[in-house]
């Protein structure tokens, strides 16, 4: 069988191992796809073709050398190209966070999650587009122009990991890293018809992930199939002494064999609040219900459950995340990073640089957060939001006493048009209404495609599980993909 850029991660690795294809050929093939499609999709903020090819040749040399020494073990992902969302630090590559304020900044260090993958042999071909500082649901808040959804170039790919999702959907890379603070992996995965994992908070180190909402930020991964995600998750996960919030827990190996059989008897909960939201696209509800029925045919028991505080997730999130962001973004002063807007007085340099180089959504959230933390408002907003967050967590704990996992839509609708919601921040925020609760509760979520609407746009479903049970989500989603083929569909522009 000849290798193509549509191969799964496992197939590509097998082809590299057998010598059917070289890492240089694989990398060149993806770089060519990037060159062909980038003008229309704009998934990347930076691409490093020469460095990637050099790394690929080094990987090939290593494989060749190992053939002469059969007892040498090679890193598991040796020579596999990937892309990284441009909010994760990679030493020697620009780190813009989609913001003008960080333009040209090259970090002297690499995020732990990325370093673990580099140690496993991956090649980073480039950094993907993102809403500025990961604040957004469409990638339109990038200071470097929006990313286009490969399924319909007039539509958004979702966000904030829209660049990674679009790159994977268009098979410009087989896998891309994203981050998920309020749905930023799952929602773009859903809009672009790919699979995306948001791990448990504390499962993957945040070191080197530029902070937005520190108590919510997670490093996730996107790929066409769930099975492609698994090695990336297991390699990235685990305690990091440089992140005090990363948990010191063993990462169990994820066994996908007999996944279909394992669905038998599993209790899948349908949180009723996730199907009642106003303005939901009926096709989304129908597709998710069909997917759940499919799991039922595999032997799952489906139960309706309630997460009664779901409606508060949105207001709670829009207090906590901006509050944390207002502090996290204080360090961008125009002195140490990026361009500087000059002025006669030092303080005016700060004010003007921040005033001109942060985009409107970032400024909106800094102001929201500053307000919520202010003397006299703290108790009514931040402290109250923390209390409600505890109730939201309790909702999940109660649900997981009754069921093994939850299944729900990822977003109320499919991908919307570019520009459709840019003037209406609230409408944009509502895109995350089903993804925010998992971040607030810290539980893992896995999104994957379960159908298409009448306009041919992908529809996603998410599974949510108890803390640190990513393995369960993987097995059930894999069982679904073993018996369906939505995840194999490629957008016409990319075929």
């Amino acid at each position: 069988m000849t290798w193509t850029p549509f191969a799964s991660v496992a197939e590509t690795l097998r082809a590299l191992e057998s010598g059917a294809v070289s890492s240089e050929e694989v990398t060149r093939a993806y770089l060519e796809r990037i060159a062909n499609l980038e003008g229309r999709v704009h998934a990347f903020l930076s691409v490093y073709p020469d460095e990637a090819l050099a790394a690929a040749r080094a990987a090939d040399a290593r494989r060749m050398a190992a053939r002469r020494h059969p007892d040498e073990t090679l890193p598991p992902l040796l020579g596999l190209p990937i892309a990284v969302k441009d909010v994760l630090a990679v030493r020697g590559m620009t780190l813009t966070c989609g913001s003008r304020i960080l333009e040209g900044f090259v970090p002297p260090y690499t995020a732990t999650a990325v370093q673990r993958l580099l140690d496993a042999g991956v090649i980073i071909v480039g950094k993907t587009n993102t809403d500025e500082f990961a604040m957004g649901s469409s990638t339109e808040n990038s200071a470097y122009g929006p990313t286009h959804n490969p399924w319909d170039l007039s539509r958004v790919p979702g966000g904030s990991s829209g660049g990674s999702a679009a790159a994977v959907a268009a098979r410009m890379v087989p896998v891309a890293l994203g981050t998920d603070t309020g749905g930023s992996v799952r929602q773009p995965a859903s809009y672009t018809g790919v699979s995306g994992l948001k791990p448990t908070y504390g499962r993957v180190s945040r070191y080197g992930l530029v902070a937005y909402g520190s108590s919510l930020d997670t490093v996730g991964v996107l790929a066409p199939a769930v099975a492609d995600l698994v090695p990336f998750f297991t390699l990235m996960a685990g305690h990091d002494p440089r992140d005090a919030t990363s948990m010191d827990l063993p990462v169990p190996a994820v066994d996908l064999t007999d996944a279909v059989e394992a669905v038998q008897g599993l209790r899948v909960g349908l949180p009723k609040e996730y199907f009642l939201a106003e303005g939901m696209q009926p096709e989304v509800v129908q597709a998710v219900q069909a997917a759940v029925r499919h799991l039922e045919t595999l032997g799952a028991q489906v139960v309706e459950v309630s997460l009664p505080h779901t409606e508060y997730a949105l207001p709670v999130y829009y207090i906590i995340a901006p509050s944390e962001a207002s502090a996290n973004l204080a360090r961008y002063d125009g002195i140490r990073y990026g361009p500087r807007v000059g002025a006669a007085r030092m303080w005016d340099v700060f004010y003007r640089t921040r005033g001109r180089l942060f985009g409107p959504e970032v400024k909106r959230r800094i102001m929201l957060g500053t307000y919520a933390l202010s003397a006299g408002y703290y108790d009514a907003y931040y402290a109250q939001a923390q209390k409600v967050r505890t109730l939201l967590k309790r909702d999940f704990e109660r649900a997981f006493e009754q069921v093994d996992l939850l299944a729900a839509p990822v977003a109320p609708s499919t991908a919307f048009k570019l520009g459709e919601k840019t003037e209406d921040p609230l409408a944009m925020y509502l895109e995350d209404v089903f993804t925010l609760p998992a971040n607030l509760a810290g539980v893992p979520g896995l999104a994957f495609p379960v159908g298409f609407d009448e306009q041919g746009l992908p529809i996603g479903m998410q599974l949510m599980g108890p803390h640190f049970r990513e393995d369960l989500l993987f097995r059930v989603a894999h069982a679904y993909q073993q018996t369906t083929d939505w995840h194999t569909r490629v957008p016409p522009v990319a075929r």
Binding site: A89, A244, E324, D333, Y337, S374, Y382
Partner: protein, 488 residues
């Protein structure tokens, strides 16, 4: 009208741990290190970096908290204190706010009024900021940022407004500095800025329980600035009240040159720090085992040591004060006193030798006690030689001087080498006495005529003849006997 000052102190003490509060950078001497040489991506707050708590800093903080008899919280929480300043690379300082490490302690102070405890309100951990230097270059002002200090662990120790005089303030600051040094967490070197004070001062009519309007005096970096600024504020506020005015609540600085407090810019006053729990750090948990480990390793504390040493060695308060001021001094003294005691030497002699001769020599040479060329055992041996009459006092001082000059040495050997062994042999001394009386018939005649004071002059002549080695008591006896014999 009589007024009573009410004073509380906030003390910021750097914890001299190996590494900084939240990263692996070393804690360096800020007065000598090249700027920005102890900086990493974490303490420079590059995007994506995260803090990790330095356990040694917590350990040091627990030492202080326990020594101050505080209640240590089993769970304390770090918070972000948000404010924007170029020496603060994150734009917020990680500190503790609502749930500090320890609360409700006390510190014993001694003043002319006796001993009393000052209540401690709270002890919490935080990180220091960087340092700004403003320079003029080509007619423009630049601010240079040095991040060596950014992220150095700081302990903030806040007293209740329990002090009522400058003397008490001085005693509190001194006792706290002494305690920090005893605990080995801070050098106490004020010149290096490792301890900084803030005072809040108010005055009220004597006998009143209500608190007056208070002012805060910030950035006091020396004992002198602390004492002078508090004294100034007390005087100023009393004058305002006496003139029928009202004290304004404000934040002040101390103008060293003009010797007066000055209002700080209102811009800095208007801060709303927007504290909230630091999401990057889980709550700090201190379990019983950790506390017990720290407690078990605590040294004897200054207050207890002062009491015990007074008792055990019969010291006067002034002597005990002097001998317990530093842990190393107290250790030295106790070792010497015990070694001397075994040789039957009275402790009083050791006290005098340590506080007199030894301190004098150390001062002259600019040495710390742990750099003294004579060991406690050596000093005890030296004092024992004097006590037994093998050396007279002056010869003993010479031996000590010689040991300092040589950078070491055993007292008996040095004594022999210098030929300073005291002569107590009556026959020998009688010979010297006879020779002196023979050589000075006029003086002898004066003495015999009733001029007693000549005796001391003759004594000096005998000692000179003996080159200082003669036992003075034996000389005096022999001299008097020989003179009386001449009366016929």
């Amino acid at each position: 009208m009589q007024f009573e000052p009410v004073i509380g102190l906030e003390v910021h003490a750097e914890l001299q741990t190996r590494s900084k509060m939240f990263c692996a950078c070393p804690v360096v001497d800020l007065t000598t290190a090249e700027p920005n040489t102890a900086v990493c991506e974490v303490c420079a707050a590059l995007p994506g970096t995260l803090p990790v708590i330095n356990e040694q800093a917590v350990d040091y903080a627990l030492r202080v908290a326990l020594a101050l008899e505080c209640q240590v919280r089993r769970v304390s929480v770090f918070a972000r204190k948000n404010y924007f300043y170029p020496d603060l690379p994150k734009g917020y300082q990680i500190s503790q706010y609502e749930l500090p490490l320890a609360q409700h302690g006390r510190l014993w102070i001694r003043t002319s009024q006796g001993e009393r405890a000052v209540r401690i309100r709270r002890v919490h951990l935080e990180e220091d900021t960087g340092k700004l230097t403003h320079v003029q270059r080509d007619g423009e002002t630049y601010s240079l940022v040095d991040l060596n200090r950014a992220g150095v662990p700081l302990l903030e120790i806040v007293s209740e407004p329990d002090m009522h005089s400058v003397e008490e303030v001085r005693a509190y600051a001194t006792a706290l500095r002494q305690l920090l040094r005893y605990l080995g967490v801070n050098s106490g070197d004020m010149q290096k800025g490792v301890i900084r004070f803030e005072a809040n001062v108010s005055v009220r009519p004597a006998g009143s329980q209500a608190l007056g309007t208070r002012v805060e005096i910030k950035n006091l970096n020396s004992f002198r600035a602390l004492e002078e600024s508090v004294a100034y504020e007390i005087r100023r506020q009393m004058a305002v009240l006496e003139a029928g005015g009202r004290v304004e609540q404000q934040t002040l600085g101390w103008d060293e040159a003009r010797r007066r407090t000055v209002p700080q810019r209102s811009k800095e006053e208007a801060h709303d720090y927007r504290y909230f729990p630091e999401p990057d750090l889980p709550p700090l948990q201190v379990d019983d085992a950790w506390l017990e480990r720290v407690r078990a390793a605590l040294p004897e504390l200054p207050h207890a040591r002062f009491q015990r040493m007074r008792q055990a060695y019969g010291l006067t308060p002034a002597e005990a004060e002097l001998l317990t001021a530093e842990r190393a001094v107290a250790d030295y003294f106790e070792a010497a006193a015990q070694a001397a005691r075994q040789q039957g030497v009275p402790t009083k002699m050791v006290v005098n030798w340590v506080t007199g001769e030894l301190f004098g020599r150390l001062n002259r040479e600019g040495l710390r006690i742990d750099e003294a060329p004579i060991t406690p055992q050596g000093l005890a041996d030296l004092v024992a030689l004097v006590h037994r009459g093998e050396l007279n006092k002056q010869a003993g001082q010479k031996v000590l001087a010689e040991i300092f000059a040589r950078g070491g040495g055993e007292p008996r050997a040095v004594m022999e080498a210098l030929g300073l062994r005291q002569v107590s042999d009556a026959d020998q001394i009688e010979v010297w006495v006879a020779e002196v009386l023979e050589a000075h018939p006029a003086e002898v005649a004066k003495y015999l005529a009733g001029k007693e004071s000549v005796l001391n002059w003759l004594f000096g002549q005998v000692m000179r003849r003996a080159r200082g080695r003669a036992n003075p008591q034996v000389v005096r006896q022999a001299l008097r006997a020989a003179l009386e014999a001449r009366r016929g």
